[in-house]
Symmetry: C4
Subunit: 124 residues, 4 copies
């Protein structure tokens, strides 16, 4: 397979609701970054979070093995700090090898589950 | 962090329903532009709204501090004019520094909440 | 405003359900192409529809005045032929001036309304 | 019509729930890649699936006739192996002619149907 991807990505939208209608983990309200490393080298990804009224937090450091995908829940990030709930944020991804990033959210504040998804913004 | 973003963006879809099933602000039907300014300089963004059968309105002027994100609700824009409800529109964003723009909507006309999101169209 | 947009766009997804839970036009299941002409010249757009097992149909001819947006429902297209319901299709847009195209769908087969949206694929 | 499309695409998100609230095929939870071949030559597309903790599977080989669209359900792929349910995956598409790929999902784990869609990541 030919190489595919880019090293720098951004997701301008981000917001994790503290409320969920379900206890099952798959249905808890969450923000996810689906990250594909289709290359034959490990990918080291630095994620920085931006907020409305405070300085950015990061980098969150993630490693993805060669030829693997990681569907990373922002809910589970803890170092250097947990992601605050009910708070608007954006995220920037910087990798040492080309990757592909897609943004997904599931909102289950109400009894229905409301998913959304979009390919993130990429830069060479 | 290396610079990331583009100066000019467009969202072809836009429509704010006058109806909502909820009084809570987070669940009122809304259109949002999530704007990330990951740079170390303030971003001045001019937004122009386009309609089906009248001249464009704008610019709406927004300022985003360095290293901040703004999840801007079109519902709250008031100068030079409020955004009409139940009316199709499009929007163009012109910034003096590179930014990232993502379009999001929450539709709560009915009892369920229906969110959507997409990375906007970018031009250098 | 500086020129913005591209002349050629594609939406690979398309499917209009013949079923809707509502009679109100805004809530009838529909496929929409939101087309922004931010330029000072009229835009002539030729739309071709592609199917799974028959030859393409088109062009559907649409004109958008300068500085106007058109949220075009595929449901309403009639010349050269109505868009078949419950049938997969794709669409290609070719314009004589740069435009911006966003794909939107509302699915109301069931009692809830399920919208989605994505910026279309653009080519110079 | 001028040629349109790219040869290589990626969808970082992928997940087929084993649960559905409906028996009707259109409403069973599914992941779809809508693939448009707007060209006058047959398109041969090789699809590779990537997982979180095992080696990639593929290629899945798909042929699309000239001037046709294929709304391909990952649920139906069987060679070289069925796509596992309740498992995160990503996909890469490599074609011998330019195509357009859009990602769509329908999630019907609960009584409501929750669709999403996004233009995939493209590379020349």
């Amino acid at each position: 397979m030919q190489p595919i991807g880019r090293r720098r990505w951004a997701i301008a939208e981000g917001h994790i609701s503290s409320r969920s209608s379900f206890l099952e983990e798959a249905l808890v309200s969450h923000e996810t970054a689906c990250i594909l490393n289709a290359r034959d080298h490990q990918a080291h990804v630095d994620i920085t979070l931006f907020f409305t009224d405070r300085e950015p937090v990061g980098p969150y450091r993630v490693t993805i093995a060669p030829r693997r995908t990681l569907h990373l829940r922002f809910n589970n990030l803890s170092e250097p700090a947990a992601v605050p709930r009910d708070t608007d944020f954006s995220s920037v991804f910087e990798a040492d090898v080309p990757i592909i990033v897609q943004h997904a959210r599931l909102d289950s504040r109400h009894a229905e589950i409301s998913p959304l998804s979009t390919t993130a913004y990429a830069e060479a």
